[in-house]
Subunit: 406 residues, 2 copies
Amino acid sequence: MARIVQKFGGTSVADVDRIRKVAGRVKREVDAGHELAVVVSAMAGTTNQLVDWTRQTSTLHDAREYDAVVASGEQVTAGLLALALQELGVNARSWLGWQVPIRTDGIHGKARIREIPTDEIVRRMREGQVAVVAGFQGLGPDNRITTLGRGGSDTSAVALAAALRAERCDIFTDVEGVYTTDPRIVAKARKLDKITYEEMLELASQGAKVLQTRSVEMAMNHRVRVQVLSSFNDAPGTLVVDEDEIVEQQVVSGIAYSRDEAKITLLKVADRPGVAAAIFGPLADHAINVDMIVQNISEDGRFTDLTFTVGKADLDRAVKVLEEKRASLGFAALKPDPDVVKISVIGVGMRSHAGVAQQMFKTLAEKNINIQVISTSEIKVSVLLAEEYTELALRALHTAYGLDAS
Amino acid sequence: MARIVQKFGGTSVADVDRIRKVAGRVKREVDAGHELAVVVSAMAGTTNQLVDWTRQTSTLHDAREYDAVVASGEQVTAGLLALALQELGVNARSWLGWQVPIRTDGIHGKARIREIPTDEIVRRMREGQVAVVAGFQGLGPDNRITTLGRGGSDTSAVALAAALRAERCDIFTDVEGVYTTDPRIVAKARKLDKITYEEMLELASQGAKVLQTRSVEMAMNHRVRVQVLSSFNDAPGTLVVDEDEIVEQQVVSGIAYSRDEAKITLLKVADRPGVAAAIFGPLADHAINVDMIVQNISEDGRFTDLTFTVGKADLDRAVKVLEEKRASLGFAALKPDPDVVKISVIGVGMRSHAGVAQQMFKTLAEKNINIQVISTSEIKVSVLLAEEYTELALRALHTAYGLDAS
């Protein structure tokens, strides 16, 4: 007998019929003698509709009201799934964020979970009751509903699994698990049986959409065993686990890509101390995140070219902020470029294997693909390329690192 | 400066555009210096959709889960109206039932309000903040959402007005006020400027759908001045007030009708003590309400015919319950008849004026309409007729009591 948390996303609970199927799946685990807590998202499309209504109503966007409106979606699914379970003879009740309560900080719209008291839920689980918990939502210190940001139901599930000391947290989604890369682009992509927290974190933050980054951080911090699997079939999924659970570690586990970044190049920036702070300070003040940065030393030592990336959605604002500072920054020209892709190869094996970056540069060179920016971390090498090379680069790298399915 | 509660029903908040118009209307009162609390229903159609989902999901109907699902509709409207008010520069916040909290008993699906603490809302009203309160919902002793039954938002509004000691409770709806009778049937129906609580209560419970019966009871008990008016124009509505506020009282104020009843006649029931209890006891045990009752004394004193009405929706069940008891009750035949209408003339003036019932019987006789059952109360005379006479009877009575618009 184990304690298991299961999380079902929007497509898994898209309508009453799908909710009934989810109930059947939960019942199987209950019948096997396990204690179950189930976290649900809003029915597919509901959250978008609710967000759209708040935007139509107000440009001012009081995040507290936004949270009250948008959290209603998960409330509906939680109640319906509890009813569907009861219909199958399973003892179940719904829990809204404020009822558990899932205590968060007061940052409405993107709150962070602080504490989840579980005494009452555990008591009822031991009596055989399934806890159906509305995902994505919590209770702020102001006694108002908070939401955790888009995709926050993953975080709800992992946090609940941590609080309940669950043996496993199953994240049901519309894909069968974590792949070596996007199977829609690379036909030979393989589903991974296991992946480490660190790799999953890099994959998530480098563009793979399968799990929300914060949920992976939380799983890593609390050592929650997460399984990503499909709610549409019974195939085994991918386990996200500690490094020591993986016996034979690949050097490279996966390749992520992100088209969500844009490049900005500042030409002939004065090469003097403090210039980087002068450029990136105003961007930070406007809540614009900068990711990759390269600085080319100029030949005469007086000027330098500076290239960096920002979120594509922030590009216009970033350009405006910098143009306004042009006089004080003293650059000669500003060249924005939205048509870029960031490709990252990721693997904990890099720590002990040399030559991973070199393999990447060589493979791209063989395909005549120019690398615009490079950045590396302990378990990741990222390059920025012209967006048109996305598919070509992904397929070439997938083969070069020996990831192709046989 | 006054304290006012306003309530907007489903058609008044049917979409974002209507919600914006409601915000404009609330702002006018705020600009006039008043303190405002606004109670909202779900957007038109939403509650039906949510109820439908719960029915599709489960036949068992756990009312606690039903409440969690269905209450989400008002939550959305409350958040959106708060946003719309803010957009107009009005300080506003939403309050969900559990936040106020609107404390109710534990009867999920049709809870009754027990207590509304208002200290915090009043403090904020004094600072100029509009309280936007989700109608129809409260918090049960089990710390779960309760709902007040269909149309419960009227009750929420009146209860809040009582708790806030508001000067007035404006109920905005899709009609312009309370009419002498249904204007869709009687073209000469007139809007009433004022009506007493007692009359409104009888009108509501006899079929007029303009206010929920319980909300009128509550208004009467707490002496809340209620105004029924249209959210679609600026015409003055109908004030529901204490009898002593109405200087010149009509003998008859209004005529209601209800097609929601059905008639059952039991022929040749043994005329002995206890037989009525033997018949109506089992019906009560099955939660079937009986309304009008007549018993005809038989000629020989051994048998009697018994006629009574039940809700049309309960007719089949009532027949089944009685047929099962046929042997012990010993009636000769059971004749159900769903094709009846109950018409009621209502007016507090009846207390001091004789001949109101006689006028009704005479008018119906002149039109050759047979009266099947009669019942009276202090301020009401009701008759049961064949349903096909509904329009004819309503128009004739409206004229006979001098209610026609000139």
